[in-house]
Symmetry: C3
Subunit: 421 residues, 3 copies
């Protein structure tokens, strides 16, 4: 359980909230590249961290990400005209570039230099793996863009998606770190290659990028061969990312929760293959099943199965086949996460068990980081952006190897992960 006060601290992420400030120290996924499209498409609404933003593409392919309110008389720039080198407010024709500079004010005299006193809030934006990433924090604290492995491979080695999830961001992150639910919630329908049987022993380690959750299963229960250990290692990438444990032959997957506001979030999933393009079987799996990526309404990004249709629950299937009667592993996660006593769980009412260790540790890490920030300390952020070049682990290895050896052996070339952080 958390105190009401600590729960508020972790769940509130608007401007000028402590957790909001922490989110704003990292590059965050905020939209899909295909949403923003080419420069002749209109502007795109991007609502994150309680802010209403507008994304647009320039002719030089760069991305603008700016406040939705024109600084003149606050008209919505969503109605704006994308002129390829800037966005023009339709009300009085003021035009701004992607850095927020005011380029034109047609009805004002040039002599007053009024436009030099006008600035539109603008955030740096980058693209990687078909996702637009933004840094929304103070200019002087902007970190280098993280060298995620998927940001370094060709785009056809990747597949990304976004969904709107109707709950606070933390409920999703907790689910991603929660190994114990897999055998229950997803009974009879677990991700191929990631099947696990019994409750493991856990260890949680601090790392440069966040934490590493290590689940260890030994041979006696049939989950590993004699003399071997079955390892499942989940990197938690601050503030809200996780890598789903996968065997080396399968794609890796990053999941990332970004708050829209305190009761809605965007769930991004980035899948990648290190060494080859996605093939037809990969794409079919991503686009037709609700296992990793969800089928969503193309306008709202709300999943087709959602709270309004009871996630298309099939009570007969629930009685005889699956735990939930809800199709698709990711859909099952969304269903339980969206209502934990409402969209913001009142964590002072919880009764946590021994399997909730990773959740407890993650909350503690965030709370101690927030406390440090309130004392003027910056959150630890790897100085070398290659520290984000990491993979999850799902493997059976000789019992003579330590978890450090197993983890580091699975990492991509050029990774500089420190396990002593």
């Amino acid at each position: 359980m958390l105190s009401i006060e600590d729960n508020n601290l972790l769940t509130q992420t608007g401007p000028d909230t402590p957790m909001g400030d922490l989110f704003r120290r990292f590059w965050l996924p905020v939209a899909l590249s295909r949403e923003v499209g080419t420069f002749d498409k209109g502007p795109t609404k991007v609502n994150v961290l309680g802010e209403k933003l507008i994304a647009f593409r320039n002719k030089d392919l760069s991305i603008g990400l700016v406040d939705s309110m024109c600084p003149h008389r606050l008209a919505n720039l969503y109605w704006g005209r994308n002129e390829g080198d800037g966005l023009r407010c339709v009300y009085h024709g003021w035009k701004f570039d992607k850095d927020g500079n005011c380029l034109e004010q047609p009805a004002e005299s040039e002599q007053t230099c009024f436009k030099e006193h006008v600035k539109l809030r603008a955030y740096p934006a980058r693209e990687a793996a078909g996702v637009i990433w933004a840094y929304m924090g103070p200019e002087d604290k902007q970190p280098a863009f993280p060298e995620f492995e998927f940001a370094l491979v060709p785009e056809d080695h990747t597949y990304s998606s976004k969904r709107l999830q109707l709950c606070n961001w933390l409920q999703n992150l907790e689910g991603e770190l929660d190994t114990a639910h897999v055998q229950q919630l997803h009974a009879h329908e677990v991700v191929e290659g990631s099947m696990i049987a019994l409750a493991p022993r856990y260890e949680i380690k601090d790392t440069g990028f966040g934490m590493l959750m290590i689940a260890k299963r030994e041979g006696q229960d049939g989950t590993a061969h004699e003399g071997k250990i079955n390892w499942r290692m989940t990197p938690y990438i601050m503030p809200a990312g996780t890598l789903i444990p996968q065997t080396p032959d399968r794609p890796q997957h990053l999941t990332f929760a970004v708050p829209v506001d305190d009761t809605n979030m965007l769930g991004f999933t980035v899948s990648w293959r290190a060494n080859r393009p996605m093939d037809d079987a990969d794409m079919k799996r991503f686009e037709e099943d609700d296992i990793l990526h969800l089928r969503v309404d193309p306008k709202t990004f709300l999943p087709l199965a959602n709270i309004h249709n009871d996630y298309l629950i099939d009570r007969a299937s629930q009685a005889t086949e699956t735990m939930t009667g809800i199709a698709g592993l990711r859909m099952q996660d969304v269903a339980v996460q969206e209502d934990m006593g409402g969209p913001i769980a009142q964590r002072h009412r919880e009764k946590l068990g021994s399997t909730d260790l990773a959740i407890v540790m993650m909350r503690r890490k965030l709370l101690s980081t927030l406390k440090a920030m309130q004392n003027g300390e910056e959150p630890s952020h790897p100085s070398d952006s290659a520290a984000f070049k990491c993979r999850s682990v799902f493997a059976e290895e000789s019992a003579t190897k330590t978890w450090q050896e197993v983890f580091l052996a699975a990492q991509p070339e050029g990774s500089v992960i420190s396990l002593d952080a």
Copy 2:
């Protein structure tokens, strides 16, 4: 009129409110048996008194009524799996019986006895006349289940329904006690057998079960024969039930208002015949007219005619035929009750007349009961549950009889109603 403070007292019924505590001293109708269905149907949402509950049936036909939040991490038990002897939370597989005991925690070690420290909030539930009744108050104050006459006859002697009404519960109860509106609101379409003509003289008496409202009409105006008195007696059963006056040859009807929250309520109507099953004519009347029972949407229980379609009002019919242009006596009641300056009437703005006596007396009785409870006194509750075995009266009797004689003569065998309470 009521002071703003007293109005708040009577209209707020959530947990830890005075009126909420009063409701929680009585057995209340909370759902229909046919909603909950058999054990292989999924759980059913039951939202009453500001609480979100889940009902489910066991294989032994008993009913579970429990908090919707799993005590572990607050997942909604509506997604739960009904296993016939308990409900399993799908998130981590914790299983609970109808008394709220935790039976299983698959991922926790048996040795810690953790499950013995976990309890799901659960309320006693009973069935009578196709309705599920619950007691939601403190365990040590639980009264015996009331011996309503309909709870003692075979189920085919009864017919029950439920509707969602979009207003505070008190607006409905006031309407049930308001004799004066019958000739106006329902002009040209009143319940057969209950027709009354002119404003009567009233008396209101305290009784063990609540109050008895007595309307007396004498012969001179043609409503009764020479030397006779026309009596119409409405029992008000604390906290929110009334019996509609009916002649002995027709079914009796209990109506009961149960708050969902402060701006929504469930209206239950239980009809019964003491001595024989309902016949086809009865059923046709209940299922096709909107006189006593309403046609509702089977999922939401919102009446088919409702505020969103202006109750299907027919202004031409209103101009020439009926007072309201709205079809169905019960529907007319709902239409005026749902908007009395909004869903919660601001009773400090009222101008009550002489015909509002029963409403005034009922409010006073509730307020004095609340005040007594705040001083540590329990609300008076008949020690003998046969005190609830009562009928309404609609009859013409010799003027030589007192109201007590008339009332008691109409009561069923075994009734122990005290008129001196």
Copy 3:
């Protein structure tokens, strides 16, 4: 910019707010005559200034405009029965005339004279140009009905419409006074006869009815011939009306913003010809284009193009043809006005330029009037109602004439406008 406090002052108009009091000193358009219809149509809901009212027509063609709550037990009089000489509440049959007197109380004794102590809130209502106008202020401060020119011509010389606009009233009024946006927002689609080219020089003058905004363009830029001046004069009629500048051969148009509540408003447009009926071309323009009058849903008065369908924006047309991609000048106004950082602009965030002068002056005039009222001074209101008999100006005149000469020459006969107020 405005302080947060001043912004609240100007945007809040419910009962007992300063700006609400100011609105209540004037006759206001509140509904269309065709909405209320004939006496055998049911009552009509009229929601203005945070009050819920009911309009109905009597057999003598007069209009009743009364509180929606019956004073007895607050039932909604919208369900009431219009009996041609008053409205009867359907709950208990109390009947009221258009002045709020209680005519009947069927279930109460005549002897108590109870009905003489009961009064329904009622406001004086008048009709002009197919619009119902009401005075909602204190009885002793009621001004004469303004002699707008459209109120004096035959009804077939007029055309009126109403739209629901989803924002605070002030955003609309500011748009009406904002000359500078015309060349931008409406680029390539401006009202015929009102075309203007470059930013003008402004003057703003106080007048008896409010303010006169004078835009002056001289010959050198091609907007006027040698030795001539192009004048565009917009009367602002307190508290929320404006006349759109028009050449003498075209109809004049009044626009008027009336708050429903603080985030919704009704926009009335009254068009009139002084000397002849509207012709087919006029009607076609009013009913088919979205230039002055909008096509709206007949029940809700929400425009067919609205925020829920992105105003039917055509991004391709925006890229190549018009500034907005939204069809219809009035529709373009609505689109930008409805979202200026939300339905209530936070004016402390604005950056006003030199072309926003008229907006600044109007705000100042309202604020100083509010301050005066708080000191017990009444808002200045012309003692002669012919002061409202005025027209806008759109004309080219000899440079030797003063603006006063030009304005007064354009006014209708009988006008008594003082330019020294």
